[in-house]
């Protein structure tokens, strides 16, 4: 009996040690996204939030590079968070929202409609950036299932080591430094970019075979609408004021019809750029794909006003506890802005400077 117990204990110990070793290798080998492609770090930062939010933004780079939650707070006292990620697909937005609702119930959800153009899983690297950062839940499992491209498998999401094992030959100091903890790279999901690269050419409008959004995309937009309705959340649709990639008239019409039919607010900021004061010769850092921090702040000021007026959001700045939290966020935001300006000036990128 004693021997059997000893054997069992040894077996358990060995199995535990095996998992520990594999866990350590996994921690070392998974990408950290702390420099270079920082977009991969966005999704997991949400879990560090200690307060609830009035507004949750979901969508692709058109939200996480064009909206500044700090400006929304400073100007209107709106608390918000961007659950955005690179090339976030509609179903990923839906499952992120479903997961978010397990943590909090915002008054407003804003969904950027550019991703409606995708009806199929697109790219493994972008999937990883959206999905690996999510905590395990039924939402993540479902999102993985519907997002996988042909050469991916579910097990590699459960054990990312199976996907990233080959990174052993490209390890850097960053991988060792951030094995167990990561820095915060965003400001409530906003990825700050400075510098100016003005728009010099307008995008070529290629003729498409079919302008109708796909069935899958519609199905998940429908789901987003339903889940918001069920939870008494106001859903707002938006299209960011960036001219790349092309946003077709035909797409615009479909979204307008959908918004009308479902009694949703829809704002295409491409049409109100002048009103918002956005100038794509100064407010974009990559020639019209995304806004720089000045552009994002302008858009946030403009959008914040709409949110207050149309969605009845109240000013939270009088809340001491919240103000304390946001004071720290503002400090971090300003510090990064200052540092980035300095770096940009040094490298001569900021033509505005």
């Amino acid at each position: 009996m004693k021997r059997r117990t000893k054997t069992a204990a040894a077996a358990v110990l060995m199995i535990a040690f095996t998992f520990l070793v594999l866990f350590l290798f996994q921690a070392l080998l998974v990408p950290k996204y702390m420099s270079g492609v920082r977009e991969g770090a966005l999704i997991q930062e949400y879990y560090r939030e200690t307060t609830k939010h009035d507004v949750i933004f979901i969508g692709d780079c058109e939200v996480y590079e064009n909206i500044s939650p700090v400006t929304l707070w400073e100007e209107y006292g709106i608390t918000s968070y961007i659950r955005g990620s690179a090339q976030q697909l509609v179903w990923q937005s839906y499952y992120l929202l479903e997961e978010t609702l397990k943590y909090e119930k915002p008054d407003v959800v804003v969904f950027n409609v550019l991703s409606m153009k995708y009806n199929e899983p697109q790219n493994e690297a972008y999937n990883r950036m959206t999905l690996d950062g999510m905590k395990w839940s039924s939402s993540k499992a479902q999102s993985v299932k519907v997002s996988m491209t042909g050469d991916e498998n579910f097990a590699s999401y459960v054990f990312p080591l199976l996907r990233f094992h080959s990174r052993w030959s490209e390890l850097t100091k960053e991988d060792f430094r951030y094995m167990f903890s990561r820095d915060t790279v965003s400001h409530n999901g906003y990825l700050m970019q400075v510098g100016t690269k003005p728009v010099t050419t307008m995008p070529k409008t290629e003729i498409l075979d079919n302008y109708s959004f796909g069935e899958n995309a519609w199905q998940y937009l429908e789901k987003i609408t339903d889940i918001c309705r069920e939870n008494g959340i106001k859903l707002v649709l938006m299209k960011a004021p960036t001219i790349y990639p092309v946003w077709y008239e035909q797409w615009e019409k479909q979204i307008e019809e959908y918004a009308d039919k479902n009694d949703l607010l829809y704002y295409n900021f491409l049409e109100t750029m002048d009103e918002a004061g956005i100038d794509l010769t100064t407010d974009t850092y990559d020639a019209g794909l995304h806004l720089n921090v000045e552009g994002a702040e302008k858009l946030s000021k403009y959008f914040g006003k709409i949110l207050v007026q149309e969605c009845g959001l109240s000013d939270n700045r009088k809340d001491e506890a919240l103000s304390e939290v946001w004071r720290e966020k503002i400090c971090a935001y300003e510090a990064e802005k200052e540092q980035k300006y300095r770096e940009s000036e040094q490298s001569g990128n900021n033509q505005k400077g």
């Binding site: 493994e124 050469d151 498998n153 199976l162 094992h165 080959s166 030959s169």
Partner: protein, 531 residues
């Protein structure tokens, strides 16, 4: 289901657990269900052909067995009544009936294999000849899908049918047990080609969970995956680059490709066999060994006794021996001795039989001329070396101490590896004229400087990959050296549990970290699967 896929690993884990949970009398039935599932994953169509092989072989063996038993009883009952001639005539009659059954069975099964595997090859040749005269091919190609492991299970089953015919094996009366023998999933992909008499000893037996067996099996499986994923699939990229772009990669690249392919093929094939034998061992089933450190062979003949042993033995037992002892060959032997003298006459029939066997070996590997030429060249090298034996003996008589010198042994080993590697170029390029052309560039287009001066890094693998393969090959070599003194696992088993655990952990971590699998690597089937 690829052996290297996660699905397969989950599948075998499920089989292992269920195998030791179910009542022991159901173990073989569980394996049969597992076989059906495994085979169905490769396509339901293939199951039809395997079904035909199982049913026809079952019917043939049972009929032959019944016939033989009936004949034995009859002879017994007629003892003292029949004359010697009557008994002889009756035996002859029974043998003829058995032979007819055997031939029918062979005709059906070899026919299926031939039609599915060789129709397009035949059409290509007919079209080639027709094109030479008319400028156009005359026949359309077929799009038959080759069922998984058809060459292996057909050979294994036909071996069994012939054994029953010869009275060397008893016919299995339970068709489901017979089906299990034909379809045993670990060996379907690339062998080994088992003999019924040996396999049945453990295949149908009830097995207790024996820790040592399971541990040894798991160790062997891990070792197989290490060879396949860490070495073979990593060097494969370089091999494919060299073979795929002959206009760019010639001269010394061909030499490198040849050596890389030798490493890849060995790690791939022996790795697959390790996985197969390891799985069987976990289940308590003993499979025949298929390799005995073939790269330590000092001659081609020795190499073929140590490489793909079960295939060589199959060709020896079911083609070489029967052909050598057949009436036409005997008659030919008499004829040649009479007309060409003892020395030549004795050799000619043997050579003919050997060329036939090697032709069959070549075409078994693939339905194309490169494999046939490869087989015939192997035979030629073996025969030349046989014919040169007096010369060697003379040489060694002059230098008697040389044979035992380590340097000379190394020379013999390297010579064998190089010879085998050169012949395998036919397997690499899969085109006879192209192979000879590329081989000749090794001696006509010298580019060793550019290859070593950065060319190696244009082959699709990095310095790190070379380092991993290099270390992997060193480990392979060390293990092979240790194996010469006995089983490495037995020796490891004598060490403390901690040492054993760390050995297994090392292999597991090495496979997971350094294995060439997942996104960025193509899922590679084992090379021998295509044969």
């Amino acid at each position: 289901m690829l052996f290297t896929s996660l699905e397969f690993i989950l599948f075998i884990l499920g089989v292992f657990v269920l195998y030791y949970i179910v009542p022991k009398r159901f173990q073989w039935k569980l394996l049969l269900i597992a076989n059906v599932f495994f085979y169905a994953c490769a396509g339901i169509g293939g199951m039809v052909f395997m079904g035909v092989t199982i049913v026809t072989s079952y019917a043939a063996t049972v009929c032959m067995d019944r016939l033989q038993k009936k004949a034995d009883n009859c002879i017994q009952s007629q003892k003292g009544i029949w004359t010697k001639e009557e008994r002889k005539a009756y035996k002859k009659q029974v043998k003829k009936r058995k032979r007819n059954i055997l031939l029918d069975c062979l005709f059906i099964n070899i026919g299926i294999l031939a039609i599915l595997k060789y129709t397009n090859f035949a059409i290509a040749n007919i079209n080639g000849i027709a094109a030479a005269f008319t400028g156009n091919g005359v026949l359309a190609y077929t799009d038959f899908v080759l069922p998984l492991g058809i060459s292996f299970y057909t050979f294994q089953t036909m071996g069994y049918v012939i054994d029953v015919y010869r009275g060397k094996a008893e016919a299995e009366r339970n068709i489901f047990k017979m089906a299990l023998f034909v379809s045993f999933f670990p060996q379907l992909i690339q062998g080994p080609i088992s003999r019924f008499g040996e396999l049945k000893e453990t295949l149908y037996k009830e097995h207790n969970f024996v820790f040592k067996n399971v541990l040894f099996g798991v160790e062997r499986i891990l070792w197989g995956y290490f060879k396949k994923l860490v070495i073979a699939d990593r060097i494969l990229v370089a091999v494919n680059t060299i073979i795929g772009q002959p206009s760019e990669y010639y001269g010394f690249y061909v030499f490198l490709g040849m050596i890389f392919y030798a490493v890849e093929l060995y790690a791939d094939f022996t790795g697959g066999i390790d996985i197969t034998i390891g799985i069987a061992q976990v289940l308590g089933i003993n499979l025949t060994e298929n390799f005995e450190r073939p790269y330590f062979s000092k001659s081609i003949a020795e190499y073929w006794r140590r490489w793909h042993i079960t295939m060589g033995a199959w060709f020896r037992d079911y083609i070489y021996y029967p052909m050598s002892a057949s009436v036409p060959v005997m008659k030919l032997s008499t004829f040649t001795r009479k007309h060409f003298g003892e020395a030549v006459g004795r050799r000619l029939p043997v050579y003919l039989v050997m060329f036939t066997v090697w032709f069959a070996t070549g075409i078994w590997h693939g339905a194309s001329w490169n494999f046939i030429v490869w087989g015939l060249l192997n035979c030629t090298v073996i025969l030349i070396s046989q014919e040169c034996r007096p010369l060697y003996e003379k040489f060694h008589a002059k230098f008697p101490k040389l044979k035992d010198k380590c340097g000379y042994k190394c020379f013999q080993i390297i010579r064998t590896i190089l010879l085998m590697s050169v012949l395998r170029l036919l397997d690499c390029y899969r085109n006879v004229p192209m192979t000879f052309c590329m081989f000749s560039t090794m001696f006509t287009r010298f580019n060793i400087g550019s290859v070593l001066g950065g060319g190696l890094l244009t082959l699709g693998i990095t310095v790190y990959d070379y380092a991993v393969v290099g270390l992997g090959v060193m480990l392979l070599f060390m293990v092979s050296m240790l194996q010469r003194k006995g089983s490495v696992r037995e020796r490891l088993y004598e060490k403390s549990v901690v040492v054993q655990y760390f050995a297994v952990l090392f292999l597991l971590v090495a496979i997971i970290i350094f294995g060439a699998y997942g996104i960025g690597y193509d899922a590679n089937q084992f090379i021998y699967n295509q044969f």
